[in-house]
């Protein structure tokens, strides 16, 4: 029972981390109907830029790498770079692809993925780096002692951050003017233009917000597994979360994350041994598929409107 709980809670917490990445996808999809394949690359780019800056800034400006302000300066600069990226993406890609079929935009974001990956590694090198956020990655002591439960402190903190982010964004989408405009854009680019929604500014905003989410995800995942190319793979973990929760739902990302995280771990532990293990490569997808059969637009996704 204690083992089961451990797996379950560990899974739920990991699920929150998946949700963090999924969130980036949701934002952009909801706001422009673009399935942003580059989200994984953005996570990688953000994390790499951040660590790259913490390495170089002291060298460039000759202050101690121990200085506490370094973290914040690097974070700020990274955020600025993500805004710049968003601006560039809008200026040179999205703007020219207004009103194109979803699949074309999807493909363009794949091109973008290559671009970002090349730029990231070209700028900062292929070296794998560690990242220490100063949150210890150890079991929470009293849980271990009292209940013999191993729950990582780091995961708890990260999950809390993800939760807050989601709450804020969900509110933003549902209740603000810009949020409404974003949803309008996702429905019909041309009509959005016609009522005077400044598509271009809106896109910069969402991509920038998605960039911030990527920074958070990048820092969390980077300090878990190291800052390296494999961060782009976190996107693979986010996909089933995304479809299970619904492509357009911010809270869906969280619920999807929790379900996928927990059931993936439980399946690996209780089912894996019978079939040779390693099933977490496909289990989340199959699970999501089963959910989709019942609800074709995910748990909280917007229903596809199909009227004649």
């Amino acid at each position: 029972m204690q083992f089961f709980l451990e797996v379950l809670i560990g899974g739920l917490l990991a699920g929150m981390l998946y949700a963090l990445v999924a969130l980036g996808f949701v934002l952009i999809f909801k706001a422009s109907g673009v399935f942003n394949f580059a989200q994984g690359a953005m996570v990688f780019f953000a994390a790499l830029t951040f660590v790259g800056l913490t390495e170089r800034l002291p060298q460039w400006f000759g202050f101690s790498p121990e200085w506490a302000g370094l973290f914040w300066i690097a974070l700020l600069l990274t955020a600025a770079i993500m805004v710049l990226l968003a601006w560039l993406v809008e200026r040179f890609m999205l703007r020219k692809l207004v009103n194109q079929p979803a699949i074309t935009l999807f493909m363009a974001t794949i091109g973008l993925t290559y671009l970002i990956e090349g730029v990231a590694q070209g700028m900062w090198g292929a070296m794998v780096r560690g990242l220490d956020l100063g949150i210890s990655d150890e079991p929470v002591m009293w849980l271990l002692e009292r209940h013999n439960l191993m729950i990582s402190k780091f995961d708890v903190v990260a999950a809390a951050v993800a939760g807050v982010l989601v709450a804020v964004l969900a509110f933003f989408f549902q209740y603000t003017k810009v949020g409404r405009a974003l949803r309008a854009v996702a429905d019909d680019h041309q009509a959005a233009l016609s009522v005077g929604i400044p598509l271009q500014r809106i896109w910069v905003i969402v991509w920038a917000v998605a960039g911030f989410v990527a920074i958070v995800a990048g820092l969390v995942w980077g300090s878990r597994n190291g800052v390296q190319f494999a961060l782009t793979f976190t996107a693979l973990k986010a996909l089933p979360v995304l479809i299970l929760g619904g492509l357009t739902s911010v809270p869906g990302a969280i619920v999807g994350g929790l379900i996928i995280g927990a059931s993936e771990k439980l399946a690996e532990v209780y089912l894996g041994p019978y079939v040779g293990g390693g099933i977490d490569s496909w289990f989340p997808y199959v699970l999501a598929l089963v959910f989709l059969l019942i609800r074709p637009e995910g748990l909280f996704g917007e229903k596809h409107i199909d009227r004649v």
Binding site: F35, L97, L115, I116, A126, W282, Y285, L292
Partner: protein
């Protein structure tokens, strides 16, 4: 003035229903085919045959398969790699386990196995649409690769899941030189491309496209959705399966399940988007583009540009240039190279008088 259709009248619907109703197109196509069969084998180097032309053909076939499903029938799929894997491994096992089975029969059986698997994974498409369906096909992608890795029976108990293709022999003739493998591939791919074109221009293809464009309306005019979608999955997977077989037998020789991973599926998806969705020609153009572009950039980077910048940077520049070119082409023409080609022709038709 070269590209004019004026003066070409069609006396019957039969003529109008030809694959290439315009004479110039027919001539170009015929020249291409003849050249591919009778000129290329004599002039192309081994490198071109083995490392460029054969894979382009194989990938074009896979892209054609995906194009049937995604381009024509509108069902977005990311499981192409897995269906190719089914084709490759099934062909291998049929040839291995049924003694004396002719190669082509083995290949066809491989394709049929892929078709069967395709139908199973196509079932969800009756309910699930768009990107959601794409994600669902990812389940197929990961599951199939996992099965092939996990159960050693499929790779005849080789220690790591790799299989190495048997020698190809058809009617006593061994296909073991690059030229013969190229010709074999070319023959199979041409036939299947012709069949695809035929499907596309007849009732079958129209039903697919109708379902793609608006499935409610399609149903209302009497197109059975289930049958049409599943047929698309089956035919598409068949093509991918055959492509997988050729990938293993005429191109690589040895393959492992991981080689059929998500990367491959994506690559093939790029091909049809860049080449042009819902177009047979597009599959070929896309395959050539996606395979040759990185090679071209690579050569460039490691020769001329490579002399100027550090090698690691050159490799990264390669990625950057590739990404930029993809975006560039999409902006120039979101409907792919085929459309670009058509617009070119239309301009040519008007030339030299713009309107």
């Amino acid at each position: 003035m070269i590209y004019r259709e004026a003066g070409q009248f069609k006396a019957s619907y039969e003529e109008d229903q030809q694959i290439f109703p315009i004479k110039q197109d027919r001539i170009v196509m015929a020249t291409l085919v003849v050249a591919a069969f009778f000129v290329v084998p004599f002039v192309a180097s081994e490198y071109w045959l083995q490392a460029v032309l054969t894979p382009v053909l194989v990938f074009a076939l896979a892209a054609l398969g995906l194009n049937i499903l995604t381009g024509y029938a509108g069902q977005l799929s990311l499981g192409t790699g897995a269906f190719m894997a089914v084709g490759a491994y099934a062909t291998y096992n049929f040839l291995l386990r049924l003694d004396g089975l002719p190669f082509l029969v083995g290949l066809a059986l491989g394709g049929l196995s892929a078709a069967a698997v395709g139908i199973v994974f196509g079932l969800p498409s009756l309910r699930i649409k768009g990107f959601y369906l794409a994600m669902a096909t990812l389940a197929a992608q990961f599951f199939i690769i996992w099965v092939l890795t996990k159960f050693p029976w499929f790779s005849n108990y080789s220690s790591s899941g790799i299989i190495s293709a048997q020698r190809i022999e058809i009617l006593g003739f061994a296909f073991d030189t690059p030229v013969s493998k190229y010709l074999l591939t070319l023959a199979i791919v041409s036939l299947l491309a012709l069949a695809a074109k035929n499907l596309a221009r007849t009732n079958t293809g129209r039903s697919w496209m109708a379902v793609r464009d608006m499935d409610v309306a399609a149903e209302v005019i009497g197109i059975p959705l289930m049958k049409t979608k599943l047929l698309a999955f089956a035919v598409s997977s068949f093509y991918c399966g055959i492509a997988g077989g050729l990938y293993a037998y005429t191109y690589l020789g040895t393959v492992e399940p991981d080689g059929f991973g998500l990367d491959l599926s994506f690559k093939i998806l790029f091909m049809i988007i860049i080449g042009g969705m819902g177009s047979v020609l597009g599959a070929f153009l896309g395959a050539a583009f996606i395979l040759l572009l990185p090679v071209g950039i690579n050569v460039l980077m490691h020769t001329s540009v490579g002399a100027l910048v550090p090698t690691t940077l050159a490799s990264n520049l390669e990625l950057i240039v590739f990404g930029v070119l993809i975006i560039f082409f999409l902006i120039v023409e979101p409907h792919g190279l085929t459309r670009l080609w058509q617009i070119g022709k239309e301009k040519l038709r008007l030339w030299p008088f713009p309107h």
